[in-house]
Symmetry: C2
DNA sequence: CGGTTACGTAACCGTCAAGATACACACGGC
DNA sequence: GCCGTGTGTATCTTGACGGTTACGTAACCG
């Protein structure tokens, strides 16, 4: 469940996600999109699977990969929260208070 | 500019961002929040700086770190786009088309 | 059944990143 | 001009990660 940020830290994995956002793909299809050899892609898919970003459905020998709906919500939510807290900080009053606190802290040091 | 995802892949760096979302902090203040030694934190801050996530203001010897407004927009936007594409894929019609394409692809194989 | 296809895993290697220690540099106080 | 404070950098070591090759396994096809 956790590890979404780590899973998305790799450019190849992000590209995989982008492709899977457009259409479902088998592992072979995904591998064909990159220069990386199949085992490497397979491991990337495993990381994304473990992170809950994608899921695989077995169809005969093939594994059809697709995105898990809401998998990226965690990331989006985190960004929103950070932005919201920081936005509040940017209020004129808060900024003034921070400046005062900083000055006081400096007087102590 | 790029490398935002990579910068946020480390839990310590995410924690730093969370703290900085609440208040501006000097490098020493940040280091005091973690077990990691100061040089390590310094490097984490450098990664965040290079990624454009945070910025530092020199105040005497101290460097006051704060978040860069809109630094996480890139990430949030990416998530939104992926979700939007995938959301379209989830439409009943598209799903049906995909199923047909998959079946056709299988007939070929 | 044998052969092919599709996929994953194991083992190995090179590289990079994160941690700690030691050092260097800037600034303020005396 | 010295000393303490506050940071950043250099260097090293170690552990994780990405990539490859070789192998194992499950499913269709004749």
């Amino acid at each position: 469940m956790s590890g979404t940020f780590e899973a998305l830290s790799d450019p190849t994995r992000r590209a995989i996600v982008e492709h899977l956002a457009r259409e479902e793909l088998t592992a072979g299809d995904v591998a064909a999109l990159f220069d990386t050899a199949r085992p490497g892609i397979s491991r990337h898919l495993r990381v994304l699977r473990d992170a809950g970003v994608v899921e695989a459905e077995a169809v005969a020998q093939r594994r059809v990969y697709r995105l898990v709906p809401g998998a990226l919500d965690e990331v989006e939510q985190w960004c929103r929260e950070v932005r919201s807290f920081w936005g509040r900080r940017l209020d004129a009053l808060d900024t003034e208070i921070a400046r005062g606190a900083r000055a006081r802290r400096q007087d102590e040091g």
